[in-house]
Symmetry: C4
């Protein structure tokens, strides 16, 4: 599907999740006969749900609640919960600001506060006490500095995530993270990303990561596209990464690296589409902000929104009808609204049932149409 932009410059046509839709097949299935179970490394989850490490939605408490509901909550080890003893006041202050540019500046200031490594340990301890699988996110730039702290505190999974991450970072100023060697030396499994094309996904798989995050922060709530011009529509990005997963499985004779979709996800239908394109699990941020437990009171911002020099996302205030329900209602229903914002995984389950599939892995093969 290569098209000619101009003489000597070609490009592939790539597709957004909302440009594709699922086609029913000749079989339907009882919704009670479906399973959404997902396992990555030794960790088993009832739902293919990974929660975005945004301070708007993930506090130690909500990470525990996501775990109890069957998903994986990730705390940002470089976020407000590791810079402040108690960021509650700060979150309230942000909610009270009425001007877009003041909100962005306040976010930038808030994240200029240094990280307190002891808080990382403390937060991980709280989550472990919650009895769930624990995970924290560290940026590639700070991995060498902060990862050991997290591991020493007993974190189960390490998430190394930046807007755009590669297996080969070039720098002339000081040491750089060698992902492959770093992961080989670790005892805990690593999820790494974001990436957005076949080759980067394959190279990241070859670092030994257990999972690869697909998506670079360019959707309705993030402005990577406006600021950097970088964007790969998610339906294409996910299926390219799924192709890398298949080829890597073949070249290793059986190592299965999970593809986690991050971006363009708002409704239960979007989740179904992401799986249908080849994702093993979805990373949800904004969709969880409508829950009553969301620490920022219904507001949402992408982790990139606080960048000190080049913010790439807005602080989106809570809507007047917040909350739409508890986190459990958001994830598991029942829904009392028709927009696909509640009962996110009940929607996925029903989508699988109505097209005759019984598990997430098989549902990756469902037929799609391009709808516009």
């Amino acid at each position: 599907m290569s098209v000619e932009i101009g003489m000597g410059k070609s490009a592939r046509r790539a597709y957004h999740l909302d440009e594709v839709a699922i086609v029913p097949s000749r079989r339907t299935r009882d919704v009670n006969d479906t399973s959404l179970a997902w396992q990555i490394d030794a960790f088993r989850f009832d739902l293919p749900l990974v929660a975005t490490p945004s301070d708007a939605t993930m506090s130690p408490q909500t990470a525990i609640e996501v775990g109890r509901l069957g998903g994986l909550g990730i705390l940002n080890a470089e976020g407000l919960w590791t810079r402040y003893d108690d960021p509650t006041k700060l979150l309230e202050e942000l909610a009270s600001l009425s001007d877009d540019s003041r909100r962005t500046r306040r976010l930038q200031e808030a994240y200029a506060e240094p990280i307190k490594p002891e808080l990382i340990s403390d937060r991980i301890r709280i989550m472990r006490e919650g009895g769930v699988t624990t995970a924290v996110r560290i940026s590639p730039q700070h991995t060498l500095e902060l990862a050991l702290e997290a591991i020493a505190a007993g974190v189960d999974l390490l998430v190394i995530q930046g807007a755009v991450v590669s297996a080969e970072h070039v720098t002339t100023s000081g040491p750089t993270l060698n992902l492959k060697q770093f992961i080989a030396d670790l005892d805990v499994p690593v999820i790494v990303g974001g990436c957005a094309n076949y080759q980067t996904a394959l190279h990241l798989m070859r670092t030994g990561a257990a999972g690869v995050i697909v998506g670079t922060g360019a959707d309705k709530w993030a402005t990577e596209d406006e600021v950097l011009g970088i964007r790969v529509p998610m339906a294409t990005a996910i299926s390219d990464a799924a192709a890398a997963r298949r080829d890597y499985l073949d070249e290793t004779g059986g190592r299965y690296v999970h593809v986690i979709a991050d971006g363009e996800l708002q409704t239960s239908g979007d989740i179904a589409r992401a799986i249908a394109c080849g994702a093993d699990a979805v990373m949800l941020g904004q969709p969880l902000s409508v829950a009553a437990e969301a620490p920022a009171g219904g507001a949402w911002w992408h982790p990139m929104a606080s960048h000190p020099k080049l913010p790439r996302g807005s602080y989106v205030p809570a809507t007047s009808d917040w909350p739409l329900g508890s986190l459990e209602t958001v994830v598991d229903g029942p829904a009392d609204d028709p927009n696909g914002w509640l009962n996110l995984f009940g929607g996925l389950r029903r989508s699988m049932a109505k097209t005759g599939y019984s598990d997430v892995k098989a549902f990756q093969k469902v037929d799609l149409v391009v709808t516009r």
Copy 2:
């Protein structure tokens, strides 16, 4: 027209009804020399009109009126008219609510009331007394339980309709409906759906159904797409089902199963487009809600809007200029507005005349263009 979404994932480009338009040919015809007559099984209709079994538009009285105007009204055997002796008050209460989420919750509560089988018989009796062809809709889940009640009451046609129906429903919990055997054992003809692709349409035709409904509730008024990610644009869905009709006609040596389009239909132009794509008749819901006789006072909701856990449609309140006219004006004109909402079948008739066609079956061959 297969495109590559990503490496290893292809999809067909599918078309919405509003992406296609009819092309005039070298001949025109007098509008009085056209026929819209339609016959399914032994039942003959002046218009290729089937009314959606939504409580917003179909009461026993309006079903009779649709029959008098030349179409087929269908009452929902699992709707408000079979759960309440008189749902009038309830409809008025719904119209008085001003908040979207309260409306959805009220719909869910209203449909939680158990079905009273004796009301099914009673409603069918009233419609029979109206002197028209009678039909009721039953869901696949409740067919075994409710169909005999309806048949015993003398219904002429049985409509087995769910959002997505297949000829092969798999379940591990209890008995399931074997459509083929069920239809073979019945004396009344069955219309079944919805479906959205060639193979499912073909399999449903092979169950012995007299008609197949195409469409799965994903359009302007239903949110199957947002909630389940399932959507096949209607121009493609209809023409695929028409291809199944042709192939089934060939494999049976002459059994013609009718294709009834359900979805993306608002104006007379949409009706013409649906026929032009291969439909034998259209199923209209929202377009009939603008009529003075509509039982919900101009409001509209898709039958899926009341699902207890996963509603997939909004209660759309009446507009301030409701009613636009009587049901007769809506169906047969004359129109005094230019939007294609009145004189729905006069518009179809004129579309056929202006492109030189004299009957609905021939009009399925008219040329189309893709307009965007």
Copy 3:
């Protein structure tokens, strides 16, 4: 460019005028070295401008003014000027109505008044006294009845126009117009239309018409598409008709039938695009309504908006900044607004100059791109 809508149903992708744009070439030209002259039959015009026979814009006086400015004004012989001695009051009343549906109903009532044949003669006489080429529009249905009246009054050109016209109208009720024979018997040249595809255009050319109108009333101001589902995007319709012109020229050894584009025309850029697609002249309605001389005080409606049973266009009230200028300013400039609504033919002239062309016929060959 045929695409598959579904199995067994294909369609061409057709293009709207606003989907194409003109590409500059390696040459530019002085704007004073361009000619917009146009000649049809024995009648020569300074501008390739034909004014739509809508009562909103064409009165006998404005038709004269269009002629003085170098174009061809057409009066509707079945419009208000031939039904009422003085429609001024009626036009004022229409302008005073504030409700869309009342306007449509008032239009329908106004056009229910019978045509007074003596007014046709009278109006033609006035236009002749204005010293310009005269033309009236008659519908195909009333051609046999009204054409002789117009010809007897000395009209120069006869325009037989309906929404969709073919060379072969089939009817079982009474006599029908045989265009070919009718035109052969006439002394005045005939312009006929609208049509929208190659074959119909070719057949209309074979009737002996001097010009063929391309377009069937489906654009921003007319609702043929919503009401009948009929629409051929204009860039495609015009170039198909231009292909018919070329083939007819070849089959007749030199008879050149003019292609007059009618639809999707608002700005000077649209006019340039229509010529670039192959039109010899453009038929303008709404663009002339912004002129101070417009008889309906800045309002616009498509001639189909008054249909008694199936109106296909709205009465669009004057904007608050009406008038934008005199008819001369609209047609010839100078413009003091940047939207392409004034100096319509100055814009065309400059478009030709900037791409190196010196006359309208050659400009039909300019390169285009599809811009979305």
Copy 4:
């Protein structure tokens, strides 16, 4: 990528900058290891930034400031600064007008004032005293008359720019500019444009120009498309011109003519996209109007907006949150808003780093996708 508009009329599908996006590759790079340096003829710049010669953004002072920040400011030698001793009052008056049409008329009047050649010398002298590379823009029509004045005043670069410029201007009224001969006789390098296709770009390169401007004034702020129907979407126009650069480099055995993109540029992401399509530098107008130093107080108009007979752009008033920052903040950051309007070249730098590129020339090869 040629498509058939209609029978006998084909067109290429052309792409806008906002239809393409940059794809990350398998490598990332430290943002401090990137260079944005650009050199044209003997003049070296830290940034590939050329400022549009619009009076809204370029005064002698702001041209100096652009130079200090590392770019090339261009003063319009036919603008307000060479017609008025001090246009400040006039700019204030324009900002105080509240009506679109009055603004356009006032612009037309303002530019009707004759050019004072001595002011050209005076403005160039001031800019030279500012210690930066100096450039003025002259229209092709006035080049013979005004260029020597500018050169005598010591201008470093001459920019001959019109909306659509070709190497071959045809006129029957008086002498015309022979670009090739004119440039050959000059001592200062010339940048010429706009153009929008391969052939014109190649012919302009053959005149001996040092740089060619790509773009003809058809974007969000200019109405060339509405008024003339002329528009080549910028992603295609830029890559076609880049192909001409490559072929001209080959035919001359090494003369490299710079491609300067002008149009569809608002955000830092747009700048990255333009370079990715093959541009060597970008010409920015509106994006600089948000700076505190902008002479028109935050307003913006395209140079074509003041055309006496056919204006092709609106006066866009300042937004209420003007200014967004100093010119330095706009160009170099840091940004405190997430929309890509500030830190324009920091965004470009980071886009290159995140996709593994270290200089602008290499970044022209980055992979693109078509995103809609």
